[in-house]
């Protein structure tokens, strides 16, 4: 009983700091997912291109990102490139997360575009549309709707991955919680508090994603 009281006391006294940290976590996640979607769509289209060179470029990018740990990518962007140019802290973290998310989102988009029935493209072409126009008007709107569930999933993964930005001086949720833990000589309590914050964030996000998916599905009713 005593421990539960201690947990809630620590939860209350740290809320001021952790809410601020949570906002930075949200900011990192939203910025990196939005940029990641642009990157992902770009590379998905490259991968589906008729030109071998473009397919190869997309393959190399996806292989490099999926083949290395996110924390390594973050350190390379933060420390490794600083001899050439110094990317500000927030953008180093956001871009590393964005390029990381982008690789997975690219595969999501590729899959959903390929899942659209061939007849759709053929139909559009027979109406006189060029391939690029058919892609924009006919294929992509259907494919993007199909990509929504895995995208929502990636959003949630991205939220939790943003905790790795702790290692490059971002005062986000995980960083502030572990520091408070070591400052108060009480790491377990603050890790549990961090877990609670992440659960709340993911809970809200799940609800929002569900609402959004329902709205986007209107045309299929």
């Amino acid at each position: 009983m005593n421990e539960i009281a201690h947990f809630f006391e620590a939860f209350g006294s740290s809320s001021n700091l952790l809410v601020k940290a949570m906002l930075l976590t949200l900011e990192l996640t939203v910025v990196s997912i939005l940029i990641g979607i642009v990157i992902g769509l770009f590379f998905a289209l490259l991968k589906l291109s008729r030109f071998r060179v473009l397919t190869l470029i997309a393959d190399v990018y996806i292989y490099l990102i999926r083949g290395t740990p996110l924390i390594v990518q973050i350190f390379i962007l933060y420390f490794g490139l600083s001899g050439l140019f110094l990317i500000p802290d927030f953008w180093a973290a956001s871009l590393a997360l964005a390029f990381h998310n982008g690789a997975y989102i690219a595969e999501t988009f590729r899959g959903s575009i390929q899942s659209i029935d061939k007849g759709q493209m053929e139909g559009a072409r027979s109406l006189g549309m060029k391939p690029s126009l058919a892609m924009r008007r006919i294929i992509l709107p259907q494919a993007l709707r199909r990509a929504l569930p895995p995208l929502g999933n990636q959003f949630i993964i991205g939220l939790k991955d943003s905790s790795l930005a702790a290692f490059i001086s971002m005062n986000e949720l995980f960083n502030v919680a572990t520091t408070l833990g070591s400052n108060n000589f009480d790491e377990m309590t603050y890790l549990l508090i961090a877990a609670l914050y992440y659960l709340i964030l993911v809970g809200i996000l799940t609800l929002l994603i569900r609402m959004f998916e329902r709205r986007m599905a209107v045309s299929e009713r």
Binding site: F42, F51, F75, F79, L95, V176, F185
Partner: protein, 264 residues
């Protein structure tokens, strides 16, 4: 290659370049009249982990306090610059200084020969030493007892090398406090860490006990090797702070004793 292909290639290259250009600043440092280089004019940006109480810890507004921070602030004052403490995880501190993310690290770094090949050290601003900590019921007393035992240390600290001298079973943690916490919870056989850190952990109720003090160590400010004039000026500042009692005053405030003079 046909024209269309070249055109699309260009676009592929331009996108990431445009993104990078948008978000990058220039890596060039500001140069003062005497040759001192600073990342930002009139500012002394120094790093610490904020996870090494009482040397550095977090305040309610995400700023840092502690012995290291006060020393860093005092150095900045001597240099006539505005102090900007910057918090980074211990693992990335030195890399941050080497790659121009901070001007210096005032973060209780122990001077050793290997590190001297990578960075400059100032004169020591305090003296400490690695000590063995165990649970109260342990029969480990000295380094001789450590053979074959499981020892936990903080990642990237000099204590890892020391631990490896006596046992080949070394576990690493993100911070010294995590290692001590694990020991207190019944994991591992011993922790090697700074005697001041261990002492404060015991004061906080950790179930650990002090054993042998292995050796004395000297802690200093870390400065990148491309900035020798800044090193010279920091050393002058530290010397002045020893003379006028500033270092001693900060030490007494935090530890009730003067850890800034060389022990006999």
């Amino acid at each position: 290659m046909n024209k269309k292909l070249l055109h699309s290639l260009w676009r592929i290259l331009l996108l990431p370049m445009a993104v990078l250009l948008l978000v990058t600043g220039c890596a060039e440092k500001e140069k003062l009249a005497d040759g001192t280089e600073l990342i930002e004019k009139d500012k002394f940006i120094f790093t610490a982990s904020g996870e090494f109480r009482p040397f550095s810890y977090l305040n309610d507004d995400l700023t840092m306090s502690g012995f290291d921070i006060e020393v860093g602030n005092a150095i900045a004052k001597e240099l006539g610059l505005e102090p900007i403490p910057k918090r980074m995880k211990f693992l990335g501190l030195v890399q941050g200084v080497k790659t121009g993310r901070a001007d210096a690290a005032v973060a209780s770094h122990t001077i050793n020969e290997l590190r001297k090949k990578e960075v400059f050290f100032s004169t020591p601003y305090y003296y400490s030493g690695p000590q063995i900590f165990t649970r109260p019921d342990s029969d480990i007393k000295t380094t001789d007892d450590l053979a074959g035992k499981e020892v936990a240390v903080a990642k990237g600290s000099t204590y890892m090398d020391i631990a490896k001298r006596y046992t080949n079973n070394v576990n690493t943690y993100d911070s010294d406090i995590t290692a001590l916490q694990a020991l207190s919870d019944g994991r591992h056989d011993a922790v090697i860490t700074d005697f001041v850190t261990g002492k404060s952990a015991i004061k906080e109720g950790f179930k650990v006990k002090e054993q042998q003090l292995i050796e004395r160590s000297e802690q200093a400010v870390v400065v990148p090797m491309d900035n020798p004039i800044l090193l010279k000026r920091i050393n002058e500042a530290l010397e002045h702070m020893r003379q006028d009692g500033t270092l001693k005053r900060i030490s007494i405030e935090y530890f009730d004793e003067d850890i800034t003079v060389k022990p006999k």
